[in-house]
Symmetry: C2
Subunit: 278 residues, 2 copies
């Protein structure tokens, strides 16, 4: 079987930064370390950190001792500040691209724009970037968006995207704003890493009989990679290669591999080694 890897895959800079923060704290071993939420959406990585003594807390309220690290998906700044005021030791490892969305929202509030974010309402990243501004921001669920029912009722608006959104969907929805509003500030806040991974995954998916997408089941950007790939070929989203049904590999001459931004290198290598035997 020929294996084709996508040009870019695996950890993005935001993930690398969050894990580096955790690694440094583990190295210093000064205090007990907690991750507030799963540091990234990958169960194997979480397990590895648990082995090293990092405990995952459901939320910031559970932190009563030691150091709490805010995961890459982030938390609203107001919640972090409240906790700090209560004397909690918090290190913020929120991805800079998520924080950037809040900065843009603040700027647009000052400009009196009506603000829309296209994404998943309850995704932790969306909550982290919009919670403090919920009076001003309407989150539009891209799955259930219908241009016919859409009446923004504003002349001036700002439109942003969840960092992992598929760009073609963002463009399709922004078109409705262009039709209905006279001034629209469009911010392409899709993370370049997520965007490139989607682009390269599409390129490979077009050439292979099967596309294997490695990444956490809860990982939003991995789900997007799967959605992109399945448009072009047979595709499967798994966390580890041993989940694959061998029947699926029958007759496959070319297999493509890509991985979400929370998937570590070793999970990718494990998959390559496994497939090379076929």
């Amino acid at each position: 079987m020929e294996i084709i890897l996508t040009k870019e895959m695996g950890f993005c800079n935001g993930v690398k930064m969050a894990l580096k923060t955790l690694d440094k704290l583990i190295e210093n071993k000064s205090e007990k370390i907690y991750s507030i939420g799963e540091i990234i959406h990958n169960p194997d990585v979480i397990k590895e950190y648990e082995r090293k003594g990092v405990k995952v807390l459901k939320n910031i309220e559970e932190l009563n001792e030691g150091i709490g690290v805010v995961r890459a998906h982030g938390l609203p700044l107001s919640i972090i500040e409240d906790a700090r005021k209560k004397g909690k030791n918090i290190i913020d490892a929120t991805c800079p691209f998520v924080r950037n969305i809040s900065k843009i929202i603040e700027k647009e509030i000052k400009e009196n724009s009506k603000i829309f974010l296209i994404g998943e309402k309850d995704h932790p990243e969306v909550v982290a970037s919009t919670y403090d501004y919920k009076k001003y921001v309407e989150v539009i669920d891209y799955e259930n968006f219908s241009s016919n029912n859409f009446k923004p009722k504003c002349k001036k608006c700002a439109v942003l995207a969840q960092t992992t959104l598929e760009e073609s969907k963002f463009i399709k929805i922004t078109a409705c704003f262009i039709e209905k509003c006279s001034e629209i500030h469009i911010y392409n806040t899709i993370c370049p890493a997520a965007k490139n991974r989607q682009k390269y995954a599409e390129e490979v998916a077009k050439k292979v009989d099967l596309m294997i997408i490695l990444g956490g089941k809860k990982s939003s950007n991995t789900k997007r990679l799967f959605e992109v790939c399945k448009k072009f070929t047979k595709a499967i989203h798994i966390e580890r290669i041993n989940e694959i049904n061998p029947d699926l590999l029958k007759g496959v001459k070319k297999a493509g591999i890509t991985a979400g931004t929370s998937t570590p290198e070793w999970i990718i290598e494990e998959a390559i080694n496994f497939l090379e035997k076929y």
Copy 2:
């Protein structure tokens, strides 16, 4: 033959205002009246005003006496001001939608945006709204636009449209900006009258065997109406109904009529009366 008229057609407010200005001056008869450029793009209207003593000048330099009325398509404000400084008596009948484009450009210059206007480079309207800012504005010819060769090389940009541009084309081109820039201020400067006329023309075009588009050959918005209609049915762009080849009407059960924003009521009525005999 059944005749279907579009819900909106003929004179827009900008044209009405320009002609009203001219009519008032004619009524007062105090001085000789000149139109700087054809007041609107309709030869029959021009002829009628010539009969009433209004002479068309090629440009503002030719004005040496009397009152010069700037046509609806407009002239750059700097050129009007220069002429006024030289003692010329100028009345500006530029369409407010054209002037609005200049205001947006001024605002975006202050915000350090790279500015793009999608339209026809040499169209008088485009010249009127961009000439004073040519250092800052790039006019993108929508006919020859290719997304592959397009590299805006800017993070922040503003995108505007010639008032008569087809909205679907505007949306298609703005999509390339969304893909390539991180912040885009999109101004849908397409004139509501032009937009509605296109929308209603499309609706009628879908129902008829022949669509007749009445308007000046030089009229940009009439050309757009023709482009929209011919996608859906047989369509013809004429200035007057007597230009029609009777062969074209053979077998036509339903004919649609629309007219550009410079087409006077009587030309539309003339067409209806003519077609009612078939």
